[in-house]
Amino acid sequence: MDWVAIIESTFRGLIGEQFIYFALAAIGLNLHYGYTGLLNFGQAAFMAAGAYGMAIIVTSIAPRLNDDEGIFKLSISEGWMFVLGAFFGVVVVPVVLALLMGIPTLRLRADYLAIVTIAVAEIIRLTLRSPRFDWLTGSSDGLSGFTRTFYDFSPFDPSGRYFFNLFIGNQFFLVLVGWAVLALGVVLCWLVIRSPWGRVLKAVREDEDAARSLGKNAYSYKMQALILGGMFGAVGGMMRAIGFSLAQPDNFITDVTFFVWVALILGGAGKVFAPVAGAAILYAVLGFTDVFLRELVANDKVPDSVLSGTQVGQVRFMLMGLGLALLAAFRPQGIFGNKEEMALDDR
């Protein structure tokens, strides 16, 4: 048993890039579910919005604007296209998506919202996969080649290893930037929640009718929360695409949303720090079990008929599903949450 590898993998889960992507998405989901009571099961769509908003602008649109054969024959530098892509991915596309998702459903009961958000996320993913839009989205292969501007800023040697040899240069840069973005996100979320606007969100969550009778437009507040939380999800998705150097439709399957949910509920919905803590714990556990089980299999500690190398990846999903079910049933407030705050009723 290679215990060093197991500890490394656990530690990497605790602070590494996976944690950052999902913590950002979970902060967004916390705004949806934890503070406003919206059952958004389409956070993967917002993550895809961030990834593809960036990738489409830099990889698919830029050559068509700039080339001599392009329509406009502009000469925008790659750096500016990256900035434009980031703006599209974080602001424009999530806003459009939130309006698309929210207009038919925010007036409805929570379970309808859950069904529709899952459906919209699948619509987006299947559309991105479709060969019909290959020129724009790269269909099932996805898009790549949009990360150069980002990594050009990296002061680290791409082939060097950093931080106890855990990360190679580019990854380390991504993780550092990710931590900065995450810190910014937490502060922003904290400020937003203690503002009067945040208090209205909580009021809408607790009793929508009461909030409405006080003259607050609950529908509009829910929409604003959906947009803001979606933007956090988009940042997470964009970081994820940059980390993979690839935006691919099947990186945004429904299961991705469920991982975000586990991170949120594990930490405790309705607390500013909880999604970050939840994501860290979730990925530390997953990092541990993944390598631990692989080591068990590699060292023949378990017979192949019980668990083979192929099946290790499936165990992580089983744990995730069972964890989500048990948490929701027995500790809906998570580790750090507060039960009174999360006493959500059906509405």
């Binding site: 529709v116 099932s140 989500l324 048990l326 049933a329």
Partner: protein
Amino acid sequence: MRSTNLTPTVQPAWLRLVLGAVVVLLGLVAVGGPAFAQEDDGGGEGATETVGGTIVARDDTGERVGIEGVTLQVIDADGNVVGEGITDADGVWLVELPSSGVYSVELLVDTLPDGTSLRDPDRNILTGVEVQPGTNKNTLFAMGDRQVSDDNTIVAIQLLADGVKLGLIIAMCSIGLSLIFGTTGLTNFSHGELVTLGAMVAYMFHMVYGGANDFSFFGLFNIWSNGRILGIPGTNSLIFAGLVSVVVVGTFGWLYNKIVWKPLRHKGTSLISALVVSIGLSIFFRYVLLFQFQGRARFYRDYQVQSRVDLGWFSLEPKDIFIILFSIFVLVCVGLALQKTRAGKAMRAVADNRDLAESSGIDVESVIKWVWITGAGLAGLGGVLFGMTENINWEMGFRLLLLMFAGVTLGGLGTAYGAFLGSLIVGIFIQMVTLFDWFPSDMKNVGALATLVLVLLIRPQGLLGRSERIG
């Protein structure tokens, strides 16, 4: 959850939930384990990602026979050949891959035996074959002549017939979903896994236990011999396996309600928490099924390939005609049972107004139990029928789930007849939308999901739903 029990149960419900889950898991491992370990010994031991498939053609009698000695090359994104596979006597090939990613697979046409050709000669290279980490990816190369369409066939009517078939299957699966929602308020996201389970259990009885190898249940008694239970002829047929599957999935539904949902109802878990629990269990069951049955698509042996029967404006395979007639029969029976029998009336009463039903002396818990049993059994049956028309794989139920939700929402959540009507419309819509040339056929499910969103915008209570406040 609308709980009638004011005092919380003393028995720790969490313990029962955990134990129940463990029992289910162990049961599946114990039952499916030995058989499947045997069957999949060709699978990539040691390697974590593989790509494979089966090259089959039909012989003169319509039997599927494997083609031996066909060479397939797997090419990575940079154009390097990363592996080569040659089909064995059953036409099975498998290539181990260095990592997950996107590959293309080329069938070397020169290695095909004489007289055999690809159905679509341009598809000898499959591009964009995505292999997820730790899974096997199946590829399909269709052999033989394309089905020649008859002159009389009117495309629209052909699509309508296919749509009716799909719609009836969705309807069968979703009646339980709708009735469970109606009686308990639970939006059950794990309903799709009941569909998969149904298809898989039938597969197990039909193909594995019904295969050549004897199987002894925990070594206690050996009832399978030569693929037949107690040597009785017919016990390895798909019809028998399907019946067994309905019983097994119905029993599973009963246990599922008893072990998970009843304790949660009594605990007073909110509907939102219950919804999240069902999502978690959906993922759990789905990956237990993947764990047991592997990622590749499977097919039933019986009724696998049939020649189409010309019915004038359209043609169907005999099994499709059977599926349509049988589904209509089952659904009419369900409708009559709901309308005429005491149990059916009680179900509708509870779905309509639980408290009123209870104060009229209806045993609500018993009604819910029967809703779960019948709903799960119907979902299992739907899974078998769906597996007959397409293939059997671990995600089939989850893919169907969103279409079921579309159908149920369209018809009106909580109503049995609404689920029937809505599902039929969704099925027909999915097939008919390919009539339009501008609509990409790979996006036909997108169209169905988009209608779900549109329905909620225009008529949120669905076609047959009562106009009530759901916002």
